[in-house]
Symmetry: C2
Subunit: 531 residues, 2 copies
């Protein structure tokens, strides 16, 4: 018995050694190189493009009569840098209605530049790289052919990277034939079947091309219910183009490849009323106005004694700002406006962040609960309030923003005063694209957009341009904050006030050039119009 045991032991040891040796040379992941340089099509892509072309054109001989009003609302291929059409053509319209200004960013930025051609080429190259990074086959135009015997999913099929799914909805509905056959082709993955059905032949299981055939149509369709797709080439966010074909007919659809969305949920406790202290952090930036900052803090504490206040400070000689629930951050001198804003919001640990300027004053009308309420109950990401000057004049600074396609020189950016809709259930609130600098927002969404730290002086709408398409923005006129008085007679300005104005309101030329660069290069606009 001991001899048998010894023999078994030796065998096990040998097997173990063999496994170790195999393991050392076998990597747990594919060692085949993955090409992540380009996303160009191949022959399949050309075939696909030809098919789309054939399906969208045709009937050149049949006459048509253009409907001007509708045709005019269609986007032009390339926007022109002119003030938008005025909807009213009457005398004195310029006096009665705000005029629209057009600013040719391309000229403004390039005319002062030593090497305009190089800048244009650099921008085009950067944009080209950007497009290749964001390209997804799931965004390409695809058309379902009529009278095709193929049934297939057109959207909603998703797989996690390197995982496997059943493909839903595949089918063949053909008239009586002696043999029924379908082909499946993928680029970034392989096919297989989770179960087999009698009388159906499966060729190419585990490969990028698989063929199923059967003399019985219902058996083939039953088999199609078990077709699986396995993503084989890793990418965290892409799509595979699948071809599903039978004799004489091809169909294309995409399978999205990506991780499950991991949410960012905030644990703010649960109570009947809104606990502002656990839900909201107030953020501001300060420069040369410690007195106004202290007035702001004192006014906040009257209504919200425990809410956290985050202060970004880029003074040359910072002074301490103390008190409970105050977080004071010192920046290098003069880093600037948007750098300070980006810093302050980067430190917020609550679900919502309230932005205020350091010369605002809370009043009894500054009910943060109203802002929390609309953010809790709707799909808004950001809601602006109203800022009241000492004169009584109250501003919400609501704007709409739209982008018009402009061709290789860049797009056209349009700002207009106003809003899109009133919000049902909130009669004082509307939906817009930009609001005033007093707003509450979802912290994670605002951080996703960010405040460009290059914008050191005057800047406001740049944030909302970066937010286009990401943030759902609202504005409520019934949440009001006061603005510390700006009426100062010239001879009574303090030294500090003069220094502040010098920093903020001069360097206009430099600011303008930076603003032009941001819009022209970073955001790739050639033109900007506004009222």
């Amino acid at each position: 018995m001991s001899h048998k045991y010894m023999k078994y032991f030796k065998l096990t040891l040998l097997a173990g050694l063999l496994f170790v040796v195999t393991f050392c040379f076998w990597s747990p992941s594919s060692s085949v190189g993955v090409n992540i340089h380009r996303r160009q099509g191949r022959l399949g892509q050309k075939l696909f493009n030809k098919k789309i072309e054939n399906l969208t054109f045709g009937y050149p001989d049949i006459e048509y009569h253009i409907k001007d009003d509708v045709a005019r609302s269609l986007a032009q291929n390339s926007c022109v840098c002119l003030p938008g059409e005025e909807t009213f053509h009457i005398p004195f319209s310029n006096l009665l209605f705000p005029r629209v200004w057009a600013h040719n960013l391309q000229h403004a930025f390039l005319e002062n530049h030593p090497d305009p051609e190089i800048v244009k080429r650099h921008r085009a190259q950067e944009y080209d790289n950007f497009q290749r990074r964001v390209y997804s086959p799931a965004d390409m135009l695809n058309i379902a052919e009529a009278n095709s015997p193929l049934q297939y999913p057109t959207q909603g099929v998703e797989v996690q990277p390197l995982k496997t799914i059943l493909i839903p909805g595949l089918g063949l509905k053909q008239k009586e034939k002696s043999n029924y056959r379908v082909h499946l082709t993928a680029t970034l993955g392989t096919f297989n079947v989770a179960a087999t059905v009698d009388m159906v032949s499966v060729v190419g299981a585990g490969k990028k091309q698989m063929m199923l055939s059967s003399p019985l149509l219902s058996s083939l369709n039953r088999q199609l219910q078990f077709v699986t797709y396995t993503n084989a080439v890793f990418h965290p966010k892409t799509a595979d183009s699948i071809q599903f074909a039978t004799e004489g007919h091809q169909s294309f659809f995409t399978i999205k490849v990506g991780h499950r969305i991991v949410p960012k949920l905030y644990n703010s406790g649960h109570s009947e009323e809104y606990n502002i202290t656990s839900l909201v952090t107030i953020a501001t930036k300060t420069f040369l106005r410690y007195d106004k900052l202290q007035d702001l803090i004192d006014s906040i504490r009257q209504y919200y004694p425990n809410v956290t206040i985050v202060i970004a400070d880029d003074n040359e000689h910072p002074q301490p700002v103390t008190g409970p629930h105050i977080e004071h951050y010192i920046m290098p001198f003069g880093k600037g406006w948007f750098a300070g804003r980006n810093l302050a919001v980067s430190q917020v640990t609550t679900k919502y962040v309230l932005w205020v300027d350091d010369d605002f004053i809370f009043s009894a009308n500054t009910k943060l609960e109203k802002m929390v309420d609309i953010l809790e109950k709707t799909t808004l990401d950001l809601v602006g309030g109203a800022v009241r000057e000492v004169t009584g004049y109250t501003a919400t600074y609501r704007h709409t923003i739209s982008v018009e396609e402009g061709g290789p020189d860049g797009d056209c950016l349009h700002f207009r005063n106003g809003f899109h809709h009133v919000i049902e259930g909130y009669p004082s609130c509307v939906v817009a694209d930009a609001v005033i600098n007093f707003f509450m927002a979802r912290t994670d969404k605002v951080r996703q957009v960010g405040f460009d730290p290059r914008l050191s002086r005057a800047a406001h709408l740049e944030f909302f341009v970066d937010a286009l398409g990401s943030l759902h923005i609202g504005s409520c006129s019934d949440v009001i904050i006061n603005h510390a008085s700006k009426i100062i007679l010239p001879w009574s300005k303090t030294k500090t006030q003069k220094t502040y104005e010098k920093f903020r309101y001069t360097s206009v030329g430099v600011d303008k050039n930076l603003s032009n660069e941001i819009y022209y290069f970073k955001n790739r606009f050639k033109c900007m119009t506004s009222q």
Copy 2:
């Protein structure tokens, strides 16, 4: 002549006044309230769901035989919190291969909580709100019916909010009939035609339902080429579900509604070689290790004398850190690790940011140009390097991360050592989901993910979990940085070193609870497995 002129003038004035009065009462945007509370379907949705059900099931009588290996790779409905299956079942496997640990986050976080049921309900409520915010009809499963005479676009149709487009690819391919008729129905917009074709009747132009009919099929198809869709209900990012039907057949497709993507391009100048100073900013956080920080700075300056270094500092008694191109930020005492990281990256103005710890040392092998090269030429967003200890041991800390669906209690998060693929053209580089704390990344992409400022002490993989699906991550073993020695004999530790260790390595209980909360509540996982 004067009399005629006066009459004309009076008429114009009257017209002008009338227009002003009209304008005052006419808002430039719709005053119809928009409901942004829910995204539930209506009758159309129910019809649609029934159709999908009919198309995906059927043939219950036909037998099938499960293929175990494939069926096993399909996701379960609800992940179980156990160590993953071992791929090797041999004796002594536990000794030879790293073991997988499972951590039940739900138990760990809730067992110490005074009100576990309330927390579970709060998390479920927050997740529900989150899902309603990210829901898009464009993600729902849709299936193209076979043998339908309808031709229509299945993907790639996009319109900007409140704008108009031509719908591509609509068609009817039917046998001879006396009259051909199609219906179009939308929810968030209206239809029209950009041109009219003789012999085609259009009913409902400008409305949410439009009908086209004609005795001539080719004329109807010509007319279909001019159908337009106008988005009428503002939302910055959504999709409209369109029904396109004829007698006996319905098809559904989505039109995505959203702004044009506004890029964020960096103007870093153009030169033959990579200008590291204009392309890269080095970011770090420091605490109680000013000596090590100075060693880091000195080592950087040997190779990159002009690159900007951003330092986030949360010491209790901050000391000045000076020198050209150094930006030193002072934080409230002990704010912590990820707050400091988030601050530092929030201040970067270059295209790329290089993260280093304050006790790293640059060497001749720390070639930032290699990292820039792979980021410039591929779709990677972040590339990690290798950290070399004094012993010579070099680590890349490559991990893969996957998420398994888990039902209402949350998903399961899996960390494994290793990578996905080698990168073609870069033999020392691979694709992974997490890397070591020495990496270069696209500034705007890293900021979009962010470092959660609540994580004050030990944290690393949390960033990569938040980055899942957003960042394309690589790791190159040939870009090496040195790690300052950690070999300190206990009796030779300085007071500062002891204080540092006290801060970093104690409070383990508190850290663990915070980590559990982040994974359990914020990211909604019920279980975590790792090696």
